[in-house]
Symmetry: C2
Subunit: 669 residues, 2 copies
């Protein structure tokens, strides 16, 4: 980073925080709510659509009659889950979240299952939120229609660039759009309720259409009808995604952490339920009709609307009705909804590295993900997340309805395992606890978590049963693959640790070499070469020689002449290379030195010049690098790089420093 | 490479060749022809189409009357160019080709222009040949229709994989398909001529259609007509692409190299002209009609054939007429044509690295492209070529007609500059030559090259005038970009060379450090750490200390306890890291050591374990690598890697060895 860049960074982000000063950056509830709730709240932008769409498969009548019941069921589940997570927050204030709860109480395999599910979910959060954001924005900005995939991928790319550059999330950046969203949606609901009460709420445009069932869904038997209702309920459970975010973020709260987190959780639940209920009610009153396949399912005067008909989201249609001709209102809803959905996607960019860091700490993911500030590895994580999400968006045409099928299963896998883990947690503690008052509280918590476990397990079964063939199967396959990879990585780390462990009696590693044979590699005589020779001489080796490979006889002769002319106090040895190679003759020579004197240490000095830009590095030093890599495979050899810093390298050192996303969530802002 | 793999390689490719045994692998004429001529000969598969298509823009009459004249003009140009290149081959037997001729005689800028043009041409050779191959194959294998882009990209991917794996071209692999192609096409021509003479040659299916002019081309004035004829001629000059290949490959010929190359060139020219003339004649006799936009231009009973009509290539239509109902004949033509076009594309995969190596030798491309056997850099070249070609195929929908517009301009840029350079060459030599007989020969050569220069310059102007807006402009832009990049690279190399040069009196590089301060980095106590300490002790430094960074107080305490318990004879220094970083505290400490004793040399020993697989490397050593990179930017520091080879690393060393494509062309097979 340039020095002016560093000043700007100081001004914007403030000084980097010392570990012992972390307390000062913790979040008050009013900022924690927007940071952690955007994901959960934003789902109101697509959950009602999914309920109505699924019911609409069997025609307009079913959607009209049963949407209320489905919404009610979702609200019940959400209340139970939120109550359950309030117990988690109190019991596990460390922020390990579902992964920690499952690992500690149900063992590492359960934890790893949760980890896989959450990783898949982060990808889907990005894909679903961004797609939904684009769909919502298209209600007001119709030029986006037909370009949804391009628009969604563009947003993913922008988020990626932002996060790669290290823009860290801050409570304040989240606060404005989130509160604006809450106020706008609840405000719209209030206006809508008043107009409904006054009898002046207009019908939605789509109310005039007839909603035809899709083929084969016209007259359903009781079982098929029940299955469809369950499927609609599964889809509606999309409203629950993101509920667990707060339980991962307890360390970021101000003290009393757990209490504040639990309160924020309750607040978030209240707002989410209010918004969901309002949207479903308004959609019903305005007669919104929404179809999975609007071109054939929506009829006007008995004829399908046909190609070219594009339907708005429920939120968009409701806004058009409530604000009835007042276009700025519709645009406002569209903008704030789009914004909060992008924020929700961004939370995945922040949550992914946090989870990755925890999984890496436990040896299930590459270790460098754990090291704070390893921007390279961290960038790879962001690119992986973005690539997978963009791929999903492209494959599923940015259609929320299709992506949703993959989404909910992961959420409920982690809900279920986490709640079952909590029941175990209370069992364990109850076995030791003697204080009656505490026991009563624990027993109450256990009941709540038990109900939560049963409920989320039931929903998981319903989701699997109704959605496996529609896409949830892919999500399960992705989780299984991740699970297998993570097990393999852990196995590899264990294996290497065992191989590297110092075993009593095995002194091979401590063997002191008797003599040092130093070899300076020379390609031509320039400053780096001369410095390498000086440095090598400074270490006073037993033997010191310069080595060059004869690839081109003319060049070699020139080098030898110049060598002699300069009176360099080290002999230059020339290796033949009949195949015009560089690496192999050197490696062979080094090996021969070793086998002549097996107790010697061979030190190979490689002169290397250091440049400032990556594209400069591409142009240089490749054969030195390759040689270095090859020599590392040769036992008994040490490779010393003698750097010569070129002018362009000055000031480059600090370029790799910068803020790391996910810090606010870790309480490390 | 596994040992069994090496055995297979030995069996297939023979032992690697020593420089002094290269002579044994040189190509006799009968093998050189197929190796170098596939590109030039294969163009008969698309050049006649391009002539007829372009003429057909003004309707069927023009195509019928003028195709002969255009073909004749192309034949004249081809004869002149081939005669000219016979002079090049004698004057420049080193195989530098047009790049060398232009550089030596017209200066480096002209050479670089030719280099840029040729690089662009290699990309287009791949794109055009593969697309034409797919189009030809579709004549017999109709299931390919509608999937041309996918099929073409698949072929590019297969060629890429083949070349990345290091399958080297061999004369024998080329011989069979090339001779089969020549025999098949000329055989078909002979049969066609006999049937025409006997009056039994059937009309092509498309002869029954009427060919309507495209909009605005119905009644052309004289100027417009002349312009269209010139455009058709430009398109027909696609037949000349690849003619220069032999001049790049002279070193690969058996002695007398130049004579053999010149003979092969003449042979190739004869065959190419015979095939081109035959195809145009047969197309005319069978009444083949071919249109740029067949769906609207081809009429039956006055009505367009409309959507769904797909036209065969000229080669395909002619084959169907000549073999009249004998399907295997049609399939054979389709297969051999497809094969030779794929071979032609493969020549670009072999020619690209050769040219890249020459440009790299002169400092215009990254130096590692010059090093033989740098498979990594070489792979990047192949991937670049393949990526660009696949991109073009996708953008231009695998349509040869569109790609051709970009193609020919580069070819004629290098023809023209090369021939102008040859004229200069003879001028220079004539100024010194006194022998009358030699002078006469030189003067004759100069006339031939002069005519060649004038002719190719004229064609270049025609191509630019008629095709600039149709796509040649993009090719020019691509060449200009490459030119600018290569100039910048050369500038960079010159700059670095100056900065590194040893200036008399500047002894900074030779300064002998007074003492050596050795620092062993420790993260935990395992075998690599113990070995690093042993190696560091073996070099008997003035000061030796072990260094660890306190990121986690518990881990550090454990390390310190174990350190003391093991009685390691080196003191362990613990650095604080309030920001939980590793790199910065170490760099800061090293800098402080240096500034306390500026004449000391600081040697940092980094224990590193070596694993066998790249994916294993990904899981390890990242912080060591990052630290090493950062330390290289710190003056006065030498970084020593102490490798510990894990079991999985055994036998990995040789994995990077393998054959390098382009060797046959360089005479290094």
């Amino acid at each position: 980073m340039s020095s002016s860049g560093r000043v700007v960074k100081r001004v914007i982000l403030g000084r980097a925080m010392r570990s012992d000063r972390l307390g000062e950056t913790l979040l008050p509830k009013r900022l924690a709510l927007p940071v952690f709730a955007s994901d959960a709240l934003s789902s109101v932008a697509y959950a009602p659509d999914e309920i109505l769409l699924t019911l609409g498969l069997a025609g307009g009548a079913l959607a009209a009659t049963h949407s209320w019941e489905i919404a009610l069921a979702v609200v019940v589940v959400m209340s139970v889950i939120i109550l359950s997570y309030r117990q988690n927050v109190h019991a596990y204030p460390s922020g390990g979240g579902d992964y920690e709860v499952a690992s500690v109480n149900l063992g590492p395999r359960a934890g790893l299952t949760v980890g896989s599910a959450l990783l898949v979910d982060y990808v889907l959060t990005v894909a679903v939120s961004v797609s939904a954001g684009v769909q919502n924005a298209a209600s007001a900005f119709t030029f986006l229609r037909g370009h949804e995939v391009a628009a969604a991928v563009t947003i993913v790319v922008l988020l990626t660039a932002m996060n790669l550059r290290g823009v860290r999330e801050s409570g304040k950046a989240f606060a404005t759009p989130t509160y604006l969203f809450i106020v706008t949606i609840l405000g719209m609901a209030v206006i809508g309720f008043f107009r409904q009460a006054a009898g002046t709420l207009p019908q939605a445009e789509s109310a005039a259409y007839e909603l035809a069932p899709v083929e084969g869904m016209g007259a359903l038997g009781t079982a098929a009808m029940a299955f469809l209702l369950l499927r609609a309920f599964s889809s509606g459970c999309a409203a629950l995604t993101g509920v667990e975010a707060i339980s991962n973020g307890v360390p970021a709260f101000q003290k009393p952490k757990s209490r504040n987190a639990a309160t924020t959780l309750a607040l978030m639940g209240g707002v989410a339920i209010a918004m969901l209920v309002s949207m479903v009610a308004l959609a019903r009153w305005t007669g919104v009709k929404i179809a999975e396949d609007p071109e054939t399912q929506l009829l006007q005067d008995g004829r399908p609307l046909g190609e070219g008909h594009v339907q708005d989201t429920v939120m968009g249609q409701v806004a058009k009705s409530v604000f009835d001709g007042f276009h700025p209102g519709v645009v406002l809803v569209s903008i704030v909804t789009g914004l909060i959905l992008v924020l929700a996607a961004n939370t995945a960019f922040n949550g992914f590295p946090v989870l990755g860091s925890i999984l890496a700490r436990d040896g299930f993911l590459p270790r460098q993900l754990h090291t704070r500030g390893d921007r390279l590895a961290f960038s790879n994580g962001i690119l992986l997340l973005a690539g997978a999400a963009a791929g999903l968006i492209a494959v599923y045409d940015a259609q929320v309805t299709k992506l949703i099928q993959l989404y909910i299963v992961g959420v409920f896998v982690s809900f279920t395992l986490s709640q079952v883990g909590m029941v175990r947690h209370w069992n364990r503690h109850l076995a030791l606890e003697r204080d009656r008052r505490v026991r009563t509280r624990m027993q109450r918590s256990r009941i709540i978590n038990g109900v939560g476990a049963a409920m989320s397990g039931l929903v998981l079964l319903v989701v699997l049963a109704t959605k496996f063939l529609h896409g949830a199967g892919y999500a399960i396959a992705a989780m299984a693959t991740l699970f297998a990879i993570m097990v393999a990585i852990r196995k590899h780390y264990d294996h290497v640790r065992n191989e590297l462990a110092v075993v009593p009696g095995d002194t091979k590693a401590q063997l002191l070499p008797s003599r040092v044979h130093a070899i300076v590699l020379v390609s031509k005589i320039h400053k780096p070469t001369l410095r390498a020779i000086s440095y090598a001489r400074a270490t006073r080796p037993s033997v010191l020689e310069a080595l060059t490979v004869d690839v081109d006889p003319d060049e070699t002769a020139t080098l030898q002449r110049e060598w002699d002319a300069r009176d360099i106090p080290v002999a230059l040895k020339v290796l033949e290379s009949p195949y015009r190679e560089i690496t192999r003759p050197v490696v062979d020579y080094v090996k021969s030195v070793r086998s002549d004197n097996p107790r010697d240490l061979v030190v190979v000095y490689i002169p290397q010049y250091v440049l400032g830009h990556w594209w400069e590095q591409v142009l240089h030093n490749q054969s030195a690098l390759r040689l270095r890599t090859r020599l590392l495979f040769t036992p008994g050899v040490m490779v010393s790089s003698v750097p010569w810093q070129l002018a362009s390298s000055a000031g480059v050192e600090d370029r790799l420093d910068g803020p790391v996303a996910g810090d606010v969530r870790r309480g490390e802002g």
